[in-house]
């Protein structure tokens, strides 16, 4: 569907990254299910096969495990494959190749060989798709040393972090969220290649009262909540993590040192999740006296995704919940 608004949306920014990479680097190729279909991966890969040929834009059989291994193996020979999973849920079948092979290859072979492969997985939930077509499993992958995990929120990051991921010498998990595909910016600046290792969390909104930390679509929620709270006189600082492994918490620590209040928002489950990790990492690094209130986290409940509409509405975190949590935090002040 044509977006009636002007500018570039998130999906088109991903497409722009592919176009840049395929045009600039002959060793880049991409493979996965549905790459020759106009609808499988939203608007993020439209016509790439026609522009760059089906030898470099490869639609595969339904073989997640082995196609992932194919990408890893080609990367050992100097190719820069991007393997695409139209839904993160399907990538679970490739877990062994990602976790046992790619992530460990360099370390266990004494640093003599490495796998510069990019795993692009898409979070695609809602629409009553249910338990096996809704998962946001980024925390699993961030748990694995050797795997860099990238979660762009802005339209520009959607393009630039994909390019940085592919140019990085390590295996990278790049995760985009279909709920961000409608986000638009007026115009993308020309590409400047970024080094993934230099990428840090960014402060997307400056504020003095409470720090909201998130990645990917959860930043979108935080930004909307922050805008809603402004008329109430609550100034939120919103931090977009961008790269969740290795996780650089220094900017978050600096922000909480200023605001004294922390809310971590994440689209994954609660237990052993990203939000808990952020809170732990911040609390470890700050004297207790800094905190005006106990940190809070907003996550999915620890349950699989339901399918019927009313339960889906209860399941996913809303802007209103983020705003309410920020209000509650701001109502608290450290005594003594």
């Amino acid at each position: 569907m044509d977006d009636p608004r002007k500018g570039t949306n998130y999906g088109e920014a991903i497409l722009a990254a592919y176009e840049y990479l395929l045009a600039t680097y002959p060793k880049v190729f991409t493979l996965g299910q549905g790459l020759w279909s106009p609808w499988y991966v939203g608007n993020s890969m439209t016509n790439l096969d026609k522009k760059f040929g089906q030898a470099r834009v490869i639609d595969t059989p339904i073989s997640e495990l082995s196609t992932t291994g194919m990408a890893i193996g080609a990367s050992l020979l100097g190719y820069r494959p991007i393997i695409v999973y139209p839904r993160m849920d399907f990538m679970i079948l490739a877990m062994d190749q990602i976790v046992n092979q790619a992530a460990k290859w360099r370390h266990m072979l004494g640093g003599q060989s490495h796998a510069p492969v990019t795993f692009r997985s898409i979070i695609n939930r809602g629409g009553e798709q249910g338990a096996q077509h809704s998962q946001a499993l980024h925390a699993w992958f961030a748990h694995v040393p050797g795997l860099r995990v990238v979660m762009p929120y802005t339209v520009q990051d959607a393009r630039d972090l994909l390019i940085a991921a592919v140019l990085c010498d390590d295996p990278v998990m790049y995760i985009d969220d279909r709920w961000l595909y409608g986000n638009v910016i007026d115009a993308l600046p020309p590409v400047t290649e970024l080094r993934l290792v230099d990428q840090r969390p960014e402060v997307r909104r400056v504020g003095k009262d409470v720090t909201l930390v998130a990645a990917s679509f959860s930043v979108h929620l935080a930004m909307q909540a922050a805008a809603a709270l402004e008329p109430e006189g609550i100034a939120c600082e919103v931090i977009d993590l961008r790269v969740i492994n290795p996780l650089d918490v220094a900017p978050v620590v600096a922000s909480v040192a200023k605001t004294g209040r922390l809310c971590a928002i994440d689209g994954g489950w609660r237990t052993c999740g990203l939000a808990g990790e952020v809170i732990a990492a911040v609390v470890e690094r700050l004297p207790v006296s800094v905190l005006q209130a106990p940190p809070r986290r907003l996550t999915l409940p620890d349950a699989p995704a339901p399918s019927s509409k009313p339960l889906e509405e209860l399941y996913y975190t809303t802007v209103a919940q983020v705003a309410q949590t920020a209000r509650e935090l701001c109502a608290m002040r450290r005594v003594g």
């Binding site: 073989s63 495990l65 509409k309």
Partner: protein, 361 residues
């Protein structure tokens, strides 16, 4: 060191159709050959196929209007396989299926209520509104579970076959899957396991030549999926999946053998889906490879029309009786659509209550 060889242009993907007329949309259009068959059994099969067709078409309409929101993978055109296999099963057997499972479910359950309520996401549905179209269960009828991870339930079905073997009651497990599922490594492991451990499991491959938008000729060097079963020494039958009689005979033999000796079997049944991969439209996948011409021809191989014509020419069915059958089924579907509309959604408490058997949240 030998000189490096620079290869010429890569070869295109090799493909050879090994299914002969079974893969040819222009063949097998004639009414079925039913001489010597039990007409009552065929009439019952026809009724179940009509139930599936009308129910799928009703769901298609509801998807089209936006009233049903969960993703629905409809099986219009593929009714004979479900009915021909299920005919030989009892409620003590264990049936598994994938994303395109309505036909298997309806063939066993023989009533549209649980499915229709489930696609509306209502607490009165088969999974109490927690699954939608893609996650169905009717344990008391032998439908053990379906879900949409391609190939995901095949190993689970092997486990059910193991349980059936241990139970020694002559029960069997049956797993329905598509040609695409044969591309997942798990299926190959399962064939080996079933053969090696001698498990009473019927693999049913509904070969409709497509996985989502992709023609099998772009995914495999041959269209004959049963070659994988042969490699693992699992007995194979290959039939026209739009021929109820052929499906029923082949399935009957393989299931009888599984009950008798505990051995697995593999039924490959060729067919075609009339609608797009997901949703209610016919043309959604057209343009990649799937052609409208093929669809038009495959509709001539209609499993329902071929059986109906055979029953009519042999005097076992009149056009009036067929119309009455359709009307009765349609009335039942309309009644349940209305009931599903006003049925309650699941209680929010079940979001956590269903996670564990004994608390924990």
């Amino acid at each position: 060191m030998p000189e490096p060889v620079v290869s010429p242009e890569p070869l295109p993907t090799p493909f050879a159709s090994e299914l002969g007329s079974l893969a040819d949309p222009g063949r097998h259009h004639a009414p079925l050959e039913i001489a010597g068959e039990d007409p009552r059994g065929l009439l019952d099969a026809l009724r179940r196929m009509v139930l599936i067709r009308l129910c799928e078409q009703a769901i298609a309409t509801l998807v089209g209007s936006g009233e049903v929101k969960c993703p629905c993978h409809l099986g219009v055109g593929q009714e004979a396989i479900a009915v021909g296999v299920v005919k030989h099963l009892t409620a003590r057997d264990h049936v598994f299926s994938a994303h395109r499972s309505h036909a298997h479910f309806l063939a066993l359950v023989d009533d549209p209520a649980l499915l229709l309520h489930e696609v509306f996401g209502k607490a009165t549905g088969s999974s109490r509104g927690m699954g939608g179209s893609q996650h169905l269960i009717a344990a008391d009828k032998g439908f053990t579970g379906s879900n949409p991870i391609v190939g995901g339930v095949v190993p689970v079905a092997v486990g059910a076959a193991l349980g059936n073997k241990m139970d020694r009651q002559g029960n069997v497990a049956v797993v329905f899957f598509g040609d695409g599922a044969s591309e997942e490594g798990g299926l190959h492991e399962c064939l080996n396991l079933a053969a090696n451990f001698v498990l009473p499991l019927l693999f049913v491959c509904e070969n409709n030549f497509y996985a989502s938008q992709m023609d099998i000729c772009l995914r495999q060097p041959s269209d004959r999926i049963s070659r994988f079963a042969e490699a693992h020494h699992v007995p194979v039958r290959v039939v026209d999946g739009n021929d109820l009689v052929a499906v029923s005979h082949a399935a009957g033999e393989l299931i009888a053998e599984a009950r008798r000796s505990g051995r697995p079997g593999f039924l490959e049944a060729t067919t075609y889906r009339w609608l797009g991969h997901v949703g209610h439209r016919e043309d959604i996948d057209v343009g990649i490879k799937r052609k409208l011409d093929d669809l038009v021809q495959w509709k001539q191989r209609d499993p329902i029309a071929r059986l109906r014509q055979a029953l009519q020419t042999t005097g076992h069915l009149t056009p009036g009786a067929f119309a009455a059958m359709q009307q009765e089924i349609q009335a039942r579907i309309d009644q349940e659509v209305a009931a599903a509309r006003s049925a309650p959604y699941p209680d929010p408490a079940v979001l956590l209550d269903y996670v564990y058997c004994q608390g924990g949240s």
